[in-house]
Amino acid sequence: MNRGSCLVWVFGDYGDYFQNRVTLQLIAKGKSLAAELDTRLGVVVLGEDIGQYVMEYAAHGADVIYAADHHALKDYDVELFTAVVASWVGIYRPEIFLAGATVFGREFFPRLAKRLQTGLSADCVALEIDKESGAFVQTTPAFGGDLLADVITPQHRPQMATVHPGTFRELSHDPFAIAELIYPPVPELPPRKIEVIRRRQERAHKASLKDAKVVIVGGKGMGSKANFEKLFQLAEILDGEVGATRPAVDAGWIGEERLLGQTGKSVRPRLLITIGTSGALQYTSGIQGSETVIAVNRDPSAPIFSVADLGIVGDADRIVSLLIEELNRRL
């Protein structure tokens, strides 16, 4: 490959921007992959009045931006987007194509992969170029999350993957950046089957987990809803937010909006205290960017201790009560 080519692509998903940062995170990761392959990083942006997103992607490291600013693309539409992007892939033939595992990314990328007759690794937690073989290794949870599978796509192109928001860190905003901007031809579009009549913004949840510096996570080991409520006291003392694992959400102790992990949010706090959680991969994939992890579990062999910087073996509720008491005394 050569520096003039642009063979690593990222799909520019600007829905819910600026909260949704996954495209910026993928640009950063894609750029490092592109450097390893001695090529450039391209971002694909479709929509109407997309100028500010094009500029944001340039500021965050895109080398090339492929854009279609078209009235017919003003709303996310999986059929129209598939038609346009598939035709561009046919023209430019990227080797790697990444998208965020957002609501739209999860709908769009499988359809695009089918159209392109290639594979797709969903909800990847790591992406690497194998130094020996040069293969693009996409690491994704498999078999219900009990295993991590390294997936390669030796024969078909592009090698496609979706990645959970928060898995990678974005590059800082560079207002001096300049990117190449290409407006490839837009093919004849199929008729739109869905017309968006009205958009209604859902009221923002109080939880701002993604930005929290401290996150307290409760699992089924908290034992009861009443015990789980204590986590909010602890979070308040530490100026943090509360998250939860799937079993705690399914038990009805807390709402889905605080779910962390593969099917929920990913967080990267400075401090994460995970209490009464076993450490299933579906959950830990959502906390792997945390700077410091403290785990509390009564089972000393619980997998959560393997990802923790500090482990406390003991009863979850008892430890939480002690922490609240001690912190209240000290702070």
């Binding site: 500010q52 094009v54 340039a58 407006y183």
Partner: protein, 159 residues
């Protein structure tokens, strides 16, 4: 199917020209003393007001005036400059629009749209607009990737 168009884009400020974002452009030669030119200067981070310069004529090729860095100069025909909340308008005494700019501010940058009708010294239409995007006549527009360093710069600094 339309043809591929290509340009460059700045992370800070761009003009919306010919349906594309470009950080700066120049058509014609500002160093000539008589001919038409149009300059949308490249802005550096920290600058938020686009700098437009042009020498403009009417549809018969008669000189109307010159705009240097958004200010009307050599305005013998009494063209009118009017500031707006998002840019400015320049019109003939009759009220006919010559050029208008409008800059949209985003959290991390700016995009400037240009409208109006500009003619060169032969009466040929050099700038028109379609929706929010200006259309430049001819294929001689040069994309700027840095601030223009020609005579306009010297003239303004000498004031």
């Amino acid at each position: 199917m339309a043809l591929t168009q290509s340009s460059v884009v700045s992370a800070h400020h761009n003009y919306f020209i010919n349906g594309m974002l470009i950080p700066g452009f120049l058509i014609g030669n500002p160093d000539s003393t008589l001919g038409f030119y149009l300059l949308g200067d490249f802005l550096l981070p920290g600058e938020s007001t686009p700098r437009i310069s042009c020498r403009f004529f009417d549809e018969n090729g008669d000189f109307l005036g010159e705009l240097i860095w958004n200010r009307l100069r050599h305005n013998s025909t009494k063209c009118v400059h009017k500031a707006t909340p998002y840019g400015f308008h320049i019109s003939r005494p009759s009220g006919d629009l010559i050029i208008a700019t409008s800059t949209k501010r985003f959290p991390n940058g700016y995009i400037t749209s240009i409208g109006g009708r500009l003619y060169d010294e032969k009466g040929a239409l050099k700038l028109d607009h379609e929706g929010s995007s200006a259309r430049l006549g001819g294929n001689d527009a040069m994309i700027l990737k840095a601030p223009y360093q020609g005579s306009l710069d010297r003239e303004m600094k000498n004031e």
